[in-house]
Amino acid sequence: MFFARGPIEDMQILRLVIERILLSLLTLLLVSLVIFFMLEILPGDVATRILGRDATPESLAALRAQLHLGDPALLRYATWLGNLLTGNLGHSLVSDRLITAILAPRIFNTVLLSIYAFLIYIPLTAIPAMIQAVRRDRAVDHGLSVVTLVLLSMPDFLLGTALLILFVIMVPILPAISLVDETSGAGEYIRAMTLPAVTLAIVMAVYAVRMLRDNLIEVLDSDYVRMAELKGLSPRRVLLRHALPNALVPTLNVTALNLAYLVGGVVVVEKIFGYPGFGSLLVDALQLRDLPLIEATIMIAASVYIVANLLADVGAILLNPRLRQG
């Protein structure tokens, strides 16, 4: 993004980026429509769906009044969307607490977990990929390829359970249940987050390792790396300073996609380890059929996903001169 270029090209890029942002906003609006349609407009009585078949007529009537189910669907959607935009997510049906108050600590926990997972993800991607690229087509390379392929096919809940057996039951060094709250110290947080973070990091890394390996091999074959080698630079310096940064650029896209995976991944992984984050909140809300909370969490999950994809697109436009022509 720091290459020399003229003002006209800059304008083109700006237009392209703004176009992508507007499209993302439109998608977000449609997502809200999909969520609302599926949960509140599909045939069938919403109140019965929440309370179940054996609810009394009085409780059904009370819930209908609370959710304004008597109003026209379009009006309800407009009200809901308006409230969403002003940050007024309403109250939980189950605990009657403000949804924003329920969400805040959970989102905080999940953000912490995601940062931790990304910190593990970076070396977990870079080191195997570098080993594979340097020892290309040797036994190590093939061995690691098989490992990544197997791990790639491994469902995240299976991987999490395997890690749980390994580090909680066979070698008991980590807690089985990752329960934390506001009173927990940093050490407790780190112990609680380690297994979920490692699970997420492995799932993300196996996806990126294969791409980084191929990119590294391509870069290692390029003229400027040959040049650096012929200048007599040490192999380590050539790999780390000359090859790696250039091989990382295409991997950025994968990393953004991994961020998008994380939004869905936390649902399963947090549930395995009982980590009180955003993902386990969604599962709990679904189990309790807490409609306003379900709508809010899914809306947030989709927003993060859309923003992550937007960042990937914009990053690709800025970094790849060929895409700039649009």
């Binding site: 449609l30 969520i35 069938g44 096919s153 469902p155 299976l158 679904l286 899914i298």
Partner: protein, 295 residues
């Protein structure tokens, strides 16, 4: 190499089939899949115990020759349950993916061929569905279906189809846009054929290789999706021996008998590895590359 003649149509390449010249991944994947398919078909006849038969052994008694994968807390033989589970997982995955393929292919091909505002509108809508992480979308659909439909295999099939159809439609659409520029499509249009018949007779036959690879790729991930739903308690219901659900059931007493999750875990992982290897090799024969693990 089996990818000998690029001028041959994909289906011709498939017809000139020679196992010894296929990619290794196809052979290994095919072998794993064959074992799974055979077990799924004959499993219920060879399983030593019933899938819901309690008292098959001492609960949580661990591995033994009579119970290779142990016994769960209700005294059911896990080996038998894993074998019974095979046909459920495979059948649900195939039905769901096939339904998603049919819906996605029709939507994608028509939308790409017709173009204009219909295409635009449909693309935005499909984009919105893709923007909800697939597991979250699946959970949303299950919440929308309500508590009465919970645990219904038909619901699981519909959910898999709903998750995959938009993703398959996107691939089908770009294939259709590519094919629509060819002369034979123009001629068909000038003959006055309707969009539906152009899609069925011109676009579909030429998009087969794209759609087949897409089907294999999605089918490879469907067992994971179904397993994840079962694991979270939103998929199949007990006592169905669905592997994800079995892992969830046995997790509570993992400390006493960790071997109880080994059977369903191995079955699920090997099925997905087999499907992925097969897809990779299959795609190479058709002259395409796939990105495994695309979510």
């Amino acid at each position: 190499m089996a990818v000998a003649d690029p001028t041959l149509s994909p289906l011709h390449r498939l017809r000139r089939f020679d196992w010894s010249r296929t990619p290794l991944s196809l052979r290994i994947g095919g072998a794993i899949l064959a074992v799974h398919l055979i077990l799924a078909v004959i499993g219920p006849f060879v399983a030593p115990y019933g899938y819901a038969q309690m008292g098959a052994g001492i609960p949580l008694s661990g591995m033994s020759w009579t119970h290779p994968f142990g016994v769960d807390q209700l005294g059911r033989d896990i080996f038998s349950r894993v074998i019974y589970g095979g046909h459920i997982v495979i059948l649900l995955s195939l039905c769901g993916t096939a339904l998603g393929l049919v819906l996605g292919a029709i939507l994608g091909l028509l939308s790409g061929y017709v173009g204009g505002w219909i295409d635009n509108l449909l693309q935005r809508l499909l984009e919105a569905l893709i923007s909800i992480p697939f597991l979250v979308l699946a959970l949303l659909a299950i919440a929308a279906a309500g508590p009465e439909a919970a645990g219904d295999p038909v619901l699981v099939v519909f959910v898999v189809a709903l998750v995959y159809a938009p993703r398959i439609a996107r691939m089908a659409r770009s294939a259709a846009i590519d094919i629509a520029t060819r002369d034979f499509v123009t001629i068909a249009r000038l003959r006055g054929e309707s969009a539906w018949s152009v899609m069925r007779r011109e676009l579909l036959p030429n998009a087969t290789s794209v759609l087949l690879v897409e089907f294999a790729l999605r089918a490879g991930y469907a067992p994971v999706l179904i397993g994840s739903l079962g694991f979270l308690g939103f998929g199949m219901r007990p006592p169905t021996p669905e592997w994800g659900l079995m892992i969830a059931e046995n997790r509570a007493l993992l400390i006493i008998s960790p071997v109880t999750v080994l059977g369903p875990g191995l079955a699920l992982a090997s099925l997905v590895v087999g499907l992925n290897l097969f897809t990779e090799g299959f795609a190479r024969i058709l002259g395409r590359s796939v990105k495994l693990g695309t979510r």
